[in-house]
Symmetry: D2
Subunit: 443 residues, 4 copies
């Protein structure tokens, strides 16, 4: 405590500087990896862990790191993401001058096209992003699941006087990353020497040894997490002056910065990180969040809470259920059923005699439509009586009848049956949003 | 549909008139009936059905009846009620000019005392209540559980050109009412002839036959629900001119109005209504809301939703539980336990091997304090391992240890053990707010 | 009053039906008509009358008509419009289930292109628009200035059992409309017989006589205001089944509906209506709102208030000013100046000795940057000392120096001088957003 | 910048500790000093500088000092203060866990009385105040006008390891303070040796020399500002253990702490500070805020903005006015009038030919009632034609007719004319809230 007094002026200055980082979150991700969950929404808007959307993880990281100026850039299937962001983060929780501002792709007299990539999107929106006198920009993919205190990244960046700092995953091996990210070759001081893209076709011509430190004179390769902290003036110069045609931040702007001799450093991150590169990865991330352990992403951490849209749901009513290793959202009605290893989303109705195991049930956006369904003779939203669901993802508002079995009965690896309301991916059954699975179906 | 066209002007006028009713909600109720639940809060602030406070029922009735000017008058243990109302109903949900405004008892140059009763409270706040040009005031006790469309009451009042309309319960017999309410003697047109107070000492000298209609020439008696609709000018005149010393609305102002020959009518209400006259009644109201039936108060009705404070809680984690006929709030952690016939409130933690039956667990206001509890060697908030709870109400933030039995082992009818953290009322065990029940206790 | 009692059930039903209209507001308008005011924003986002944005007029009409489900569709220069809408209308003021939801143009697996027109935009967003069980959709251009009670339109539509009702302006002659609107040929019952587009090239081959009613057997022509009320099922069928390729609502869908024999009716509107077809029209609309009369649009009407973003600005400080026929926004600092016939927008700073007449000063989005401007030797935001401005529109954040004259000194009719920070349109000087006009300039 | 890296851990810890100060604001002040402005409201709720309430100054200090847990304790005429606080500060602007919570005086089973003083109020609410694990409490009078960065006070407190730190005004001489505050005798290290109350009757028996520092060995006296920072445990012990009967914080608890040998330090504050000890002082504070200088309280400071209730008012319309050295609020209508040296509050209407000088016009809470006033033949809210007002305070919603002169025609020093709608205090005319001054009156 004693040492603090010497530092009071410094401390106050630092505080203000921290508030002068703005985050730029890309809400879209890839359109194809998580199809059909992305049929009507962008990756960031996919529901996860009953109560959340994927993008809540990154926005909550920002809030918990005292970064409260957040721009979310969207263009692919952006409607539900925009709606979620503006309802969840308007006003409350972001302090005096905070906001989450959605910047949707738009046409202007100067440019009639869509955003051509991350760099193009930022360049075209610089006039918005420059409104506040922030010192650095933090560029974030919006569809990753991890907890990070960005302030430590910012400190590292400022202490090392970096032009750009890239977050790299020290905990995992280089693997089939999202094509937007790359591989960093770093020296012993974690300075980035080279930025390369992993190509699926050619064999890796670099040494992958993320978990062992090399000797001082040598280098190692490590996967980028696609998170960049960059000085404001550096960014403006790179985008407008040096590389006015660059569309992608990683492959073009970062590489360009290296070619200009800028100081690009890596910041190593060791914790859980999941970028949802497939339906399988998304499914596993949900399964991990069920366990009340520290292996996966912790949605219930008191010190770094996850924020989302506030809701006014009634409590869940359980009539007679045996529930094991599961997560139950708000507003459900669970009748005489058995639920095991399952994420049960908001407003899920489950009928008598139904068994659900190892599944992700996303629940429903809308209140009970049972009466109107009966009138129209359609299957009501929810899961009917005496139904069995195993290793499945059931998207929002699906209508699953009675005596249905969703069990991948033929043990199919991959299957495209959109016409029937589902697909199979990595042996996981995925029932589409608003799909109707009639009574007695056996899938 | 055809007839509508003729009425369009009338319709618009009506719409505006409806918006010109303001509600005055009394948040306090009796201080003693529900003790110790009212030790630190007023009746209106008592948690019910996991996610709600008692007053949410009446405020939601107002919102669902398009009454959006709501004054809540409080003075007894008002802190948690004021806090709940201003967080739950600020801004959202109340439309263009709507508000829930808390009017706490206050001192002024003219009057240094507390509100002496409902009539005194309204009189002293008339200068606030008269801010908007409303046509009628709707006076509501804030601690009752029922659903009513007040617009039908307003229509009846206007059609009958009543000075005052009193809501009376047609569905239940006259019984041990709250002393603030009374008994109405009404004629065949439901006009109120007499307003009397039931005295516990003397036998009832009136005929109680609420469920059968009498012949046109005769009268019957019916219990008042303490809900009054009164014309603005009538109210101002009664309070300031005719009865400037009256403290209570029912016994003094209503009786006074009758003595002046005013037209006082009864509006008969047939549905579920509970005024929580005892711990037993509160307990039963909770037990009824568990059943997914139409017998009790329906917290999950799509057409008349119950509003409350929005929350950002994580979903409930169930590790291995058998749950029967229960309601589960948000943010709980339920380990290997058996729960039956129980309301499990927000953020309840239940340990391995624990059995809970026929109980109301109110949950916790605060996040997990497990770590700091271990440090300080106190019992953490929640319910420990291998504990058994039957027919109990466990108030918020209680700390119940391991191997505890809360079972009313001596089958006591009434017991005052506040020093040990609980009381017994009607054989129901009531554990106090923030009480600590040490490991191994058998109560 | 007596007749009301008979109608109570009907009344309640009607109330609910009214809440079941959703509005679809198009925020964009034409990109070229109001250039350069639309250089960085869509028409709907243009500031007007100091405190407002153009789209506030239409959104406020909705709120004042008890329509609280509002979808705003945007794609052209949409950033500032999206930001305004989500900050101004989030949460408050829209009642229980109300919202203003921005739907920005987006790419999806099925369609990678921009919205091709109003019909295309609605078709692609039908899956969103169908979320609530609304009965009719109200389609609204977002950049018009007028006050209308849409409930009267809805009543007319329902009474006449129309498939589509088009609002037509009864008060003004057919004139150079926005190409998106058309001309209606209506019969004596106001049923639409023909929908045609006015072409600038060929002479009008229809009789224009909006202000006189013809005999029963004859027809007359009247300008459409581009406002359509359409039954939900009708809209879905027209867009998906009958005309799945139609891009524009007026020219293609309405004409198509007529060709199918649908009942299309006109609803005649008589009040002030301005569609801002040019810089001149925008300028005149501002000039009219200055007059405290009923000629123009009334921003201060108690019965139909105009909503907008809430702000926390300090009051305006006037050091020594003579102000005539002007409107002054919040947070201005007016030194020793003369202001006449001028709209002075929020946070405008005006220097000593400056004279402003017949102008629209849009003010500033940002707080005083005077100190940082002095450091960087740039002209500060606002209007400097001894400057003279006549018949000009000064866009937001402009920096006008000392001893400047913006007076159209050469009396130019039209001039394109964007490089110098302004253009001239209809003899009106328009200074661009964030433009810098150096000390001593004479324009 | 280099030194920061060493300190990163310390820095983060500090940040969290800063967030662990809760403010306790007393909203009431004295009931008599500012009468009649306090006839219907507490001191904290008095309107100032057109757009604000007095308490906004202190609450804004908290927000600007990153203190976001604010308890406001009220009991005297608290209605308008409670309403203002819950509307102005609900939700927005206070960050993740922030709130302004009104704690109105209340009755409980343990204590049926009003708060007997500051110490009694805090003691009775300790159970609420202890909800969050804050480290220190900051006790603040809510009716003072000053800007202070409380973080510097907190640093000083922590660095000196004080038990209690009292803010003392270094800039002004000891004068007729509010009786609740006192005079501190401090040594050369600014440690408090003695706390005494100034008595008006007996001559000061201490040396008053605030502006000169004494030699090390001597003492000086300096006025307390009634602001206390106190460690949590210290406060609980003082109130519950050592002085359980103490009612007042200054005279009883602080003196008690000194008697126990606790370390009580003074923190010297040099800036503008005004405690509104009289109508005259309130008037002067308003007059100073008009000047765009640094002498008074700056409502327009970009770096420490003053927060208040957001409003949706239209801009002010000026038809033909000469305005000098004045502040103009939102939503006014100023006709052909002359305004000089005056604060013109929100929604003020001023008629043709009217002259206002050196006055504070508080404006109106409600929209124009001109039409209904004409019907009822009462004077409408606002100021009529050809009226003259000099050196007056006109409270909210006053109705001042035509051809009125409010000029203190008999040059009265003090006058009580409440029956006629005004009083005179220090030659300042004070027109009461909602008072009606008929046409032609000359006061």
């Amino acid at each position: 405590m004693h040492r603090v007094s010497v530092l009071s002026f410094l401390l106050m200055t630092e505080l203000d500087q921290w508030q002068s980082v703005a985050a730029i979150v890309f809400g879209d991700g890839s359109e194809s990896r998580l199809y059909p969950l992305t049929k009507r929404r962008s990756e960031g808007a996919i529901p996860i862990a009953s109560n959340y959307r994927l993008i809540d993880a990154v926005v909550s990281n920002c809030i918990n790191s005292n970064i409260n100026k957040i721009y979310a850039m969207t263009q692919f299937n952006s409607t539900s993401l925009n709606s979620h962001l503006s309802r969840a983060y308007s006003g409350a929780g972001l302090g005096k001058e905070g906001f989450v501002e959605v910047i949707a792709a738009y046409q202007s007299p100067e440019d009639q096209g869509w955003f051509k990539g991350t760099a193009d999107a930022i360049r075209r929106c610089l006039w918005v992003l420059e409104e506040y006198p922030v010192v650095e920009f933090l560029i974030l993919p919006g569809h990753h699941l991890y907890k990070m205190d960005y302030q430590k990244l910012i400190e590292s960046h400022r202490n090392r006087k970096s032009d750009i700092t890239i977050v790299a995953s020290n905990g995992i091996a280089v693997r089939d990353e999202d094509p937007g990210f790359g591989v960093l070759k770093i020296n012993a001081e974690n300075q980035v020497m080279e930025y390369s893209m992993k190509s699926d076709r050619e064999p890796h011509n670099y040494v992958v040894s993320p978990l062992t430190r090399l000797s001082d004179s040598s280098y190692r390769c490590i996967p980028s997490m696609g998170i960049y902290l960059i000085n404001r003036a550096t960014m403006v110069n790179l985008l407008n002056k040096h590389f006015p045609k660059a569309n992608y931040f990683g492959t073009e702007v970062i590489r360009g910065a290296l070619s200009l001799g800028m100081k690009v450093d890596a910041y190593l991150f060791e914790g859980y990180w999941e970028d949802m590169k497939s339906i399988e990865a998304f499914y596993q991330a949900n399964m991990k969040c069920i366990k009340n352990s520290n292996l996966g992403y912790n949605f219930c951490d008191r010190d770094s809470p996850v924020y989302t849209m506030p809701r006014y749901l009634p409590p869940t009513i359980v009539n007679d259920a045996i529930i094991t290793d599961s997560v139950i959202g708000d507003g459900c009605i669970l009748n005489r059923c058995k639920i095991k290893g399952t994420v049960v989303g908001m407003r899920t109705k489950i009928g008598d005699g139904t068994i659900i195991e190892d599944s992700v049930i996303m629940g429903s956006d809308i209140e009970d439509d049972r009466e109107s369904s009966i009138k129209s003779k359609s299957v009501p939203i929810g899961i009917g009586e005496n139904t069995e669901i195993r290793k499945a993802i059931v998207d929002k508002n699906a209508r699953i009848g009675k005596n249905v079995k969703i069990i991948n009965k033929d043990n199919v690896e991959e299957g495209e049956r959109e016409g029937s309301g589902y697909i199979i991916s990595g042996r996981i059954m995925v029932v589409l949003r608003s799909a109707e699975i009639p009574d007695g179906s056996i899938l």
